[in-house]
């Protein structure tokens, strides 16, 4: 019984009626979501909702798709393992974006704060890359083991969605705690894009021995 409920959580078999202003459609034995939104959300992307003093259009008129605008990430967390000074660590994750029902997208990224311990007593600063050349907007190379901090890079997997990254170049994350605006990390116009985000972390010998953490966000927005 419980298994059945998990398999069929939101469907019901029944005689159904679709009531519109001018006609009634009556069917038999059809699976249909029972929420009233099923009578409102169109199956076709081009749809108009009219009401008193307003008219709304759902989706793009020239895209015949009601697919979700979606983003997926391969891992929920990046585990840096045990940290050793002047020994950079690299970890990666994959991001997929499917803007099938829109003409394109942008993915923004930012961190809530620098890597910090639980009491915010100790921080691992964001990197500035070799010779201090990278910022949240400007990438630069990071190859030296005496360059410290946390940074990230983007590598194209499917198509070329990475925004403003050269090979082996890194940026630091925009820091929300310092009220910095988010940065574009991916953009594209294809129906499916995938990129690899590489995290790089290196600590100095004077870094306090602790457990550091933060949260990194990736927000996908459709183009208008």
């Amino acid at each position: 019984m419980i298994l059945f409920l998990f398999v069929y959580p939101n469907t019901s078999k029944a005689q159904t009626q679709n009531v519109k202003e001018d006609y009634i459609i009556q069917t038999q034995e059809i699976k249909q979501k029972t929420s009233r939104l099923s009578e409102i959300i169109p199956e076709h992307a081009q749809n108009i909702i009219k009401g008193e003093n307003f008219e709304a259009r759902i989706g793009f008129g020239d895209i015949d798709s009601s697919d979700y605008f979606s983003i997926m990430i391969s891992t929920g967390s990046i585990d840096y393992g045990k940290l050793y000074p002047t020994t950079p660590i690299s970890r990666d994750t994959e991001i997929s974006v499917s803007p099938k029902s829109s003409h394109g997208y942008r993915v923004f990224t930012y961190e809530d704060h620098s890597l910090s311990d639980i009491n915010f007593t100790n921080l691992i600063p964001n990197t500035t890359c070799d010779r201090g050349l990278c910022t949240k907007s400007t990438p630069a190379f990071w190859t030296e083991n005496l360059t410290y901090g946390l940074g990230y890079s983007c590598v194209n997997i499917t198509n070329s969605p990475c925004f403003d990254f050269e090979d082996d170049s890194f940026k630091r994350f925009a820091d929300e705690s310092k009220v910095e605006s988010q940065e574009v990390i991916m953009n594209g116009y294809n129906t499916e894009d995938k990129a690899r985000i590489i995290y790089k972390l290196n600590i100095s010998p004077t870094q306090a021995n602790s457990i550091y953490s933060n949260t990194v966000d990736f927000i996908a927005m459709p183009l208008i």
Partner: protein, 311 residues
């Protein structure tokens, strides 16, 4: 004793795998529709259905919110920081809300691949001044992944962009449409730019219709639908390959008309003319003509010489 050691070892292996698995779980979010364009006058109560989905294989917690957006210097969307909210941003957020089963909702819990339906309710108060508002319905994951090592938790979000225009003032779109006067037979390139000179956004779906001198339609180039915000300029240029004729044309003059197909008051079109001059064929034809003329002149000269000798 050995059994206890073995059990402890197996249990430790299980725990390490379990924690790794929890961290390694993928997550995904989807939202539909990606955009909603609304034209309204005050007062009005607007309800828009929004559907969200957990695209991943595990349970997911998420937060839903409304976030104003604007355009950056490149004309692309970006979210506005809270510190940069204007009074207008606050006003529309205070009169809009997300509902599920008629209850205000801010947090959702999804089972794997579960869809959930929301209603975006916007209340436009009486005497609301004519104005545009742009904001996103944003769904963001809010996991509780942790680790015994240093880590960065990753969260994702997907947005549905809402363009709301209140008021019924006319919308004016100006266009600039060009192409080279002379072009070769294939891949005629056009440059087109549109500017919204009014105070409300407009939806445009431009297309270029190319006709020959007999009025026959040779090709129709459909450009993608876009929304142009007030004072925004959008361009279609030869570098983006977005406005390039795909067919090869015969030699001769042609007309190209840029139709806007817009919700704007000005539904006009702009027409230009261009001449197709196939380079290779032209050079060959001209050379051939010169050769023929040369041959004719030489023959006449010879014939004149023969007649003079015969006298």
């Amino acid at each position: 004793m050995k059994k206890f050691i073995l059990f402890g070892l197996l249990f430790s292996i299980y725990l390490s795998l379990a924690s790794t698995k929890a961290i390694a779980e993928e997550k995904g979010l989807g939202i539909y529709p990606p955009i909603v364009t609304i034209k309204a006058i005050s007062p009005s109560k607007i309800e828009i259905p929004i559907r969200v989905k957990n695209m991943g294989n595990s349970t997911l917690e998420a937060q839903v919110s409304l976030r104003p957006f604007t355009l950056d210097q490149n004309g692309k969307v970006k979210l506005i920081l809270h510190k940069d909210y204007t009074p207008e941003n606050f006003s529309i957020l205070s009169t809009s809300r997300l509902l599920q089963n008629d209850q205000i909702v801010s947090k959702l819990i999804f089972s794997p691949h579960q869809e959930q339906d929301l209603i975006l309710e916007i209340n436009i108060e009486p005497n609301q001044k004519s104005k545009d508002f742009y904001f996103s319905v944003l769904i963001e994951s809010s996991g509780n992944e942790t680790s015994q090592n240093s880590y960065s938790k990753q969260e994702i979000g997907a947005a549905s962009n809402i363009l709301l225009s209140i008021g019924d003032e006319p919308i004016v779109i100006t266009s600039d449409f060009q192409s080279p006067l002379f072009t070769t037979s294939g891949g005629t390139k056009f440059e087109a730019s549109l500017k919204n000179t009014s105070n409300h956004f407009s939806t445009v779906h431009p297309r270029i219709i190319i006709k020959n001198i007999f009025g026959n339609t040779i090709e129709i180039i459909d450009l993608k639908e876009q929304n142009i915000l007030p004072n925004q300029v959008i361009s279609f240029g030869p570098e983006s390959n977005e406005v390039q004729a795909n067919k090869k044309y015969l030699i001769g003059p042609y007309n190209a008309v840029l139709e806007l197909n817009t919700t704007a008051s000005t539904k006009g079109s702009q027409e230009i003319s261009f001449i197709v001059v196939p380079v290779k064929q032209t050079i060959f034809t001209i050379t051939l003509i010169f050769v023929i003329i040369f041959i004719i002149l030489r023959v006449r000269t010879r014939l004149s010489g023969i007649k003079a000798n015969n006298r």
